[in-house]
């Protein structure tokens, strides 16, 4: 079984899906010949040709808008936005058409398509290359939002996204594109969209995160365990539709929860999850649900990034506070 990093796992998923189904086409800026600025689509043009792995004009609205048309006419477009910060020219297409076509046409026109892009901070990048804006997309009814945190999950989730009859926004945590390797089976496998993963079982507190923040959360859990505490760690994996069942079950067990995300705090994914947990597990809560997040500010350029991005220590502090609440 090959050991792959997250980026290579994305590449493998694309390759296998393109082999399996010739309706799958991949395109975006610098995606074809160059193989993408991060090389996520490297080698695809060589293997599948210029008609299946394509470079496009520099125009995100066109990339997504044409994908809508492609999907309507029987293709499965998997398009790349070069960075999360450059999706916005396509936002009109996403919110006005990608999310609405099925409902608008009462199911006559559906959009099996994927919009994938690298997101998130921590790589000391230029402006617009570091944001984490999953809540913005998750807030749009009609699209699904998926974020992997491991190479294994990246392949299984992307494979599911490409086979999904619904449009999927697939956000790739670029900070951990090459952070670590994992065994990733060449065999076909899917990880269901909408299912969270309990990565570590525990009884004292539930830590919920996704994407690159899973790394900090895993480390925080290790610190807490060293202190003799028992954290439960959940990787949300799908932001929308999220897996309330798994989250509620966990919080009913631990009575305490900390949600970690990189995106801005206010109106973030954490707000939605806390509300849902309060609604569904109110009587089980032993401390106020807590959040460790990016600030409600623009993510600063690299010289300020270390303050903005949730760190292991910030998570540990908040977890300890939550565990010690009224005890």
């Amino acid at each position: 079984m090959p050991e792959l990093n997250l980026l290579k796992a994305v590449n493998l998923a694309l390759r296998q899906e393109m082999r399996r189904d010739e309706r799958v086409v991949v395109y975006g800026e610098d995606v074809g010949y160059e193989g993408g600025v991060f090389r996520a689509t490297e080698g695809l043009q060589q293997e599948f040709g210029e008609h299946r792995s394509m470079d496009t004009p520099l125009a995100e609205s066109a990339i997504v808008g044409t994908a809508v048309g492609m999907a309507i006419n029987g293709m499965i477009p998997v398009v790349e936005m070069q960075f999360g910060g450059f999706v916005y020219p396509a936002f009109n297409q996403i919110i006005s058409h990608v999310a609405r076509m099925r409902n608008r046409s009462r199911g006559r026109y559906t959009l099996p398509m994927v919009i994938r892009f690298p997101y998130g901070g921590g790589i000391r990048a230029l402006e617009h290359h570091s944001e984490s804006m999953e809540a913005l997309f998750a807030h749009i009814p009609g699209i699904k939002v998926v974020i992997p945190s491991t190479p294994y999950d990246a392949k299984g989730l992307l494979s599911s996204a490409i086979r999904s009859p619904d449009p999927v926004i697939f956000m790739e945590p670029k900070r951990i594109y090459r952070a670590f390797k994992q065994e990733v089976p060449e065999d076909d496998y899917q990880i269901p969209i909408g299912k969270a993963k309990v990565e570590q079982e525990g009884t004292d507190i539930t830590l919920i995160a996704w994407g690159a923040m899973m790394q900090e959360t895993r480390k925080a859990a290790a610190v807490l365990s060293e202190k003799g505490l028992s954290p439960e760690v959940i990787d949300l994996r799908t932001i929308s539709p999220y897996d309330s069942e798994t989250l509620v079950k966990s919080v009913k067990k631990t009575g305490r929860v900390v949600i970690v995300h990189e995106e801005p705090r206010s109106f973030g994914t954490g707000s939605e999850l806390v509300t849902m947990l309060t609604e569904k597990a109110f009587l089980y809560l032993e401390a106020p649900p807590a959040r460790v997040t990016g600030f409600s500010t623009i993510i600063p350029l690299p010289r300020g990034e270390q303050h903005y991005l949730p760190s292991t220590e910030r998570i540990v502090m908040k977890a300890l506070e939550t565990i010690q609440f009224l005890t």
């Binding site: 800026e29 610098d30 010949y33 160059e34 600025v37 470079d55 004009p57 520099l58 125009a59 609205s61 066109a62 910060g85 450059f86 916005y88 020219p89 000391r124 990048a125 230029l126 402006e127 617009h128 290359h129 705090r265 206010s266 600030f295 409600s296 500010t297 623009i298 600063p300 350029l301 690299p302 010289r303 300020g304 990034e305 303050h307 903005y308 220590e313 910030r314 540990v316 502090m317």
Partner: protein, 364 residues
């Protein structure tokens, strides 16, 4: 009437000075005094040395991602030099030469690329907008600024820069259309450096030239040899005079070449050949102006050498200061979000400071 004589539909390219520094189009040679020509040369040399240094710092791990301008010095300096102090500049991110010409301090530019927003804070009298990374988005700001100038009855004009790739964006079309429809005084300077990262200009659009795109919007357009500082100046001056006298916007396609990488994260060897690069080295805008100046005895080789050394030393010294003064305090992240800090932001900042204190106390 340069624009009239170089109709973009006829696919002519306007040149004044050829690759060897000879004036091949004396009738259209702009009337520039010696001082200005020397200043052009010096600014081009300075831009080049800054680029070489910053790319080197990046390789040494001292600098973050940087987008060099090598090869495009004439395109920016030839166009910016027609502006008056009251005029506006709306950049993309590859206009170092133009920024230097306008008097943007080195420490600000380095601070920006070194990853601190302080570098985008312009002095009151410097009418330059911050670097704009989302491709083509800034063009609409230029149109709005120029529209305001017009409504206010001033003679200000606005110059804005973008690449060949930018012409594929919707914002480009919207800006061009609007500017022409409302006759706003804008100079659209398209730096066609032949690539948008790996994407060659020929694949970006089926149009034969980018200057041609002006025609459908009802705007004068011209393709200029962007490595010829005199041609860039002459065409830009004509466009500026038109804009100042109520004649509306113009599009200038500066036909040039990005001799370096897209940014320090890019490896151009993946998508273009050494031969192609070499063929453009012979067209280097700085070599060309240097030859002209030496032939005319405006400068000597020794002077050029002295200036280069001064520029290198200045970069060294300023960059060291920037390295030492660029850390961001948490407050700086919050302070400029709104006119006044909101209670919610204040709370987040206080929370963060509590955390820092907790860490300071050894996590107690």
């Amino acid at each position: 009437m340069i624009f009239e004589n170089y109709n973009p539909l006829e696919e002519k390219r306007f040149q004044v000075m050829d690759e060897t520094g000879n004036i091949v189009n004396p009738d259209l040679m702009p009337n520039l005094d010696e001082k200005t020509i020397i200043r052009m040369l010096r600014t081009m040399l300075q831009a080049r040395e800054i680029d070489l240094k910053l790319v080197m710092y990046q390789r040494q791990g001292r600098m973050l991602t940087y987008a060099p301008n090598i090869g495009q010095e004439a395109a920016t300096i030839g166009s910016i030099s027609v502006l008056e102090k009251e005029d506006w500049m709306v950049p993309a991110y590859r206009e170092l030469g133009a920024m230097l010409w306008r008097g943007m301090p080195l420490d600000k530019m380095f601070t920006y690329w070194y990853g601190n927003e302080r570098g985008s804070h312009m002095a009151e009298d410097l009418k330059i907008l911050p670097v704009s990374v989302p491709i083509a988005s800034q063009l609409l700001h230029a149109v709005g600024i120029a529209w305001a100038s017009k409504l206010k009855g001033t003679t200000e004009i606005t110059i804005t820069y973008f690449g060949d790739g930018a012409t594929s964006q919707g914002d480009f079309s919207e800006a061009m259309n609007w500017a022409a429809a409302y006759q706003t005084p804008v100079l659209f300077i398209c730096q066609n450096n032949q690539f948008a990262i790996s994407m060659p200009r020929s694949k970006q659009t089926r149009a034969h030239t980018l200057a041609q795109k002006s025609v459908a919007y009802g705007m004068p357009g011209i393709q200029v040899d962007g490595n010829d500082v005199f041609a860039m100046y002459a065409a830009s001056m004509e466009a500026a005079e038109r804009a100042r006298t109520g004649g509306g916007p113009s599009l200038i396609e500066a036909y040039t070449y990005r001799m370096g990488a897209h940014t320090t994260s890019d490896d151009p060897k993946r998508y273009r050949s050494d031969e192609e690069l070499d063929s453009w080295k012979g067209k280097d805008p700085i070599a060309r102006l240097t030859k002209y100046c030496l032939n005319k005895k405006l400068v000597s080789e020794e002077e050029i050498e002295t200036w280069r050394k001064e520029y290198i030393a200045e970069v060294d010294q300023v960059f060291k200061q920037v390295e030492q003064n660029s850390d961001m305090k948490p407050e700086e992240i919050f302070e400029n979000m709104y006119s006044k800090m909101t209670p919610q932001l204040q709370e987040e900042l206080d929370d963060y400071k509590n955390y820092l204190a907790w860490k300071e106390r050894g996590q107690q």
